[in-house]
Symmetry: C2
Subunit: 518 residues, 2 copies
């Protein structure tokens, strides 16, 4: 648990830490205070950089986030600047030590609720969209044309419908039939069709694509308007442009089908449900030096609350977790879960090696200037989003997430690809921290954007939902985290995020498919 | 040159051939006629299948398209069905024999013209778009919002402007800085900015992406409104969302910039220019058994005309040419050009091997049922689009195409990725043959769709521009090819293609980027 009583000029990320982070630049001789007492700054400490809050003998471990980020390569006194000159990762070999540090379950939170759309399968939506899903790029324009015929004005008489959306992408053919890319895409398509935020769906394809609809329907066992109460049978589910006779006829047929589905999708109303139905995808994009100090740890507090409610928090971005994976394996609830994560890390090493590259999550020159010293420290800043609970399962990209608790999904760090995987896995809320200022939104899931610093929050206020830059001005991380948790509950109940207000989210569906484009 | 005097029930693709293709199914005993005389059908020949028109001794070569498609594995008499039972590729090892069969240059055609938009650099556009180019997925929505503010009604006062288009895609970050994917994407972005069909452009990015705009501008030496006559200097060219302060402010700034550019882009008028300014990208998608018999050979005639005019024809789709590449190396104008093609074929073998796959262009069961016997025959059907002239150069994906004559660009067969590469390379017309019925369109280049069969042409008449299925009903391939050539000139002069009429082309910009997504 974080200490609330530290000096306003320092952020201490864990009470076990022997370093703290300078909120603003600190001059030599400034009076500092932490849990262990008062002391004076010895060096000039730039904002975002680390200062020792205890004696650290040469060879001893340096702790931040309650975790080892490296070893002192010189004796360090309280008030001294801690960076590359006196801190290094001496032993970079990770000891996975599976299940060696499984946290106690958090104290259950029973009373938190939101207003959600209850589906037939114990899933609950935070939105109620009708999705026109394009199975291949060749039908992307047709899916868009169908959705465009149902603008907000047209939907005024369906107050429980959040919109008719086209889920379109660049893939679906030019791939090996039955190969990895094909199966991943099918999982993704099914994840959207079955998504708790999707009240009804229509699949549109060209007809001759490798990603054939017949195979998709059979492999994923898709049925019509899954979760819509009162549907009168499976009915027509798919449109093939080649069968319908081209663009115009398919658009007309799609408009007719959507019109028929709309009253059914509208028949569902929000009702009070337990917060255990929240499945929150955690993302960072456009990070800055504050990400690991403000927004990510604050989001970690919110993640812990979600898990305490019985909900699900999804960490992802394997390439950015790299270097801190041993901390997740130690928190894994079983050797099997740890092994799944290690297998994914090994897969990534091979994946990038195929292209003659290697996974490199080392702090960049910009990171170093911002105060990050070691790979573990950088990765911990990303993992901080996930809070402090046990890791209960590991999922492949876009795999349906069934577990309650903290889980990991294997995705790239690239924002739209990562979020697309978590959304396809069932995330009904996305929390997205950003320092430089990403304007990301996605459909069908609302994306809450959390600013790491106040200047960016103010400059981009029409795109940012929560300001965690307040941590640099004295707010505790716990307090910022509680605000994020409150915002999650409000957004889940229908409050529109900034990116929803802006209409963003139709272009950001980006499947990550590994395999040759043929 | 093709023979015009053959029987109406057979298509003979080259006068040197010893097989012809059945236009419709032929019963045993039917009277057939070819250049060498009359004979009777011996077997039942399904439509699209081959029938011998001469004696072929066991071990002798079987010729189709004037090329060897395999060897007879039994003695074959005129009128006999030629397929897997009596034809096989005995020696699959290709003899590249570079430059061994360089065709004579075609008789020059001097008098063909079209009405084009002349740019400052000897390039001529067939359309005059203003492009809002998104450098990364994070700015895709903003680029779209800017373009959406300029619908057709709004552009009525700018009759020389074909539209304001958003060029958006799924990539631009999560890639290695300076790696292959990054360089290819930069080449692509520059290819659109400099495209002859683009009268003015605006680049929009987020700000923190790997595909940084500063690097793009410098590496590709981009200048503002390239090709617009009367521009008053380079001026502001790029918008960064993080600099502008988010979505809304960037959209407003973009609208202001586009408004300022529109009169300048509108100031250019079509004028009469030589057909040598045509650069025609050749594509097939949704092929059927007729593709290699009707539309592709007919498009080959049109390609020969384009080259005779001094224009450029671009063959691509490396994965579908595989198996016939030795025919292109023999037609290469220099050993260097042949070597470039061979290098690309070897690259592809390694590319697919990385994923544990191999290039497999063998006829599928469906192909075999349709009458295709060998890999050479199948590939020749694809290469037939390129006509009979010499191969003058080979280009990397999205590389600017400078040569006049027939060239090859390395692309996947996947339609949107292949066409995106040719368009970025400067293609100002796309000719797209289809049998199953693709509704493909792209921007900023018009796509002429050529049906391989009449039933599909009629069923999808709102999407098809030219019917080459008439070849199965008695029209000669040369005549069908002349019709395609005429259509190219009309479309180049401003006639709208079917996909332009339908508004297709905003979702089909699909960069092919090789490298890990990080
Ligand atoms: Ca997309
Ligand atoms: Ca559903
Ligand atoms: Ca990310
Ligand atoms: Ca695209
Ligand atoms: Ca193709």
């Amino acid at each position: 648990m974080l200490d609330e009583k530290i000096s306003r000029s320092l952020v201490m990320l864990d009470s076990f830490d022997n370093v703290a982070v300078a909120r603003t630049s600190i001059s030599p001789g400034a009076a500092l205070k932490c849990t262990d007492g008062e002391f004076l700054s010895v060096d000039s400490i730039p904002a975002g950089h680390k200062v020792a809050v205890a004696h650290i003998a040469q060879g001893a471990s340096v702790f931040k986030y309650g975790q080892i980020i490296g070893q002192a390569i010189a004796d360090i006194s309280p008030g001294q600047h801690v960076h590359s000159h006196n801190l290094a990762m001496v032993d970079v070999h990770a000891d996975y030590a599976p299940c060696s540090q499984i946290p106690e379950p958090p104290t259950a939170i029973e009373d938190k609720t939101f207003q959600g759309y209850v589906r037939g399968n114990d899933k609950v939506g935070t939105r109620n969209y009708l999705a026109v899903i394009s199975t291949v790029n060749c039908s992307a324009s047709v899916a868009k044309f169908i959705a465009q015929r149902f603008p907000a004005e047209e939907l005024a008489k369906y107050p429980n419908v959040d919109g008719v959306i086209a889920m379109k992408h660049e893939a679906g053919c030019g791939m090996q039939f039955g190969g990895d890319a094909h199966h991943t895409l099918n999982r993704l398509m099914a994840g959207i069709a079955n998504h708790p935020n999707v009240g009804g769906f229509l699949l549109v394809g060209l007809g001759c694509e490798t990603g054939a609809m017949g195979y998709l329907l059979k492999q994923q066992n898709l049925i019509q308007i899954e979760g819509v109460i009162g549907t009168d049978g499976p009915g027509p589910l798919v449109l093939s442009m080649q069968d319908e006779g081209g663009t115009l006829r398919t658009v007309e047929a799609g408009i007719a089908q959507v019109s028929k589905m709309l009253p059914k999708v509208n028949a569902i109303e929000r009702q009070t449900v337990s917060a255990r139905h929240l499945s929150v995808g955690l993302e960072c994009g456009g990070s800055d030096g504050n990400s690991g100090v403000t927004a990510n740890p604050a989001l970690g507090i919110a993640s812990d609350r979600i898990v305490a409610c019985g909900g699900t928090a999804i960490l992802s971005e394997t390439s950015e977790v790299y270097g801190a994976e041993h901390l997740l394996t130690r928190r894994a609830v079983s050797p099997d879960v740890a092994a799944k994560l290690i297998e994914r890390i090994e897969w990534w090493k091979n994946y990038v090696a195929m292209f003659g590259a290697q996974l490199d999550n080392n702090p960049s020159p910009g990171n170093k200037a911002g105060g990050l010293t070691t790979i573990a420290e950088k990765s911990l800043g990303a993992v901080a989003k996930a809070g402090s609970t046990a890791l209960v399962d590991v999922y492949q990209y876009a795999e349906p997430v069934a577990a309650q608790g903290l889980v990991f999904m294997d995705t790239p760090g690239y924002d739209p690809a990562s979020v697309t995987g978590m959304v396809a896995g069932g995330a009904n809320i996305i929390c997205f921290t950003t320092g430089r200022g990403s304007c990301f939104g996605c459909k069908p899931t609302p994306s809450i954007k959390i600013a790491t610093n106040t200047p960016m929050y103010e400059r981009m206020s029409a795109d940012m939902d929560v300001n965690a830059g307040t941590v640099l001005e004295g707010e505790s991380i716990v307090s910022a985290g509680e605000r994020i948790f409150d915002e999650i509950l409000e957004v889940a109940s229908g409050k529109k995020t900034k990116s929803e207000q802006q209409g963003i989210g139709d272009e950001e569906f980006v499947p990550w498919l590994v395999g040759p484009t043929l």
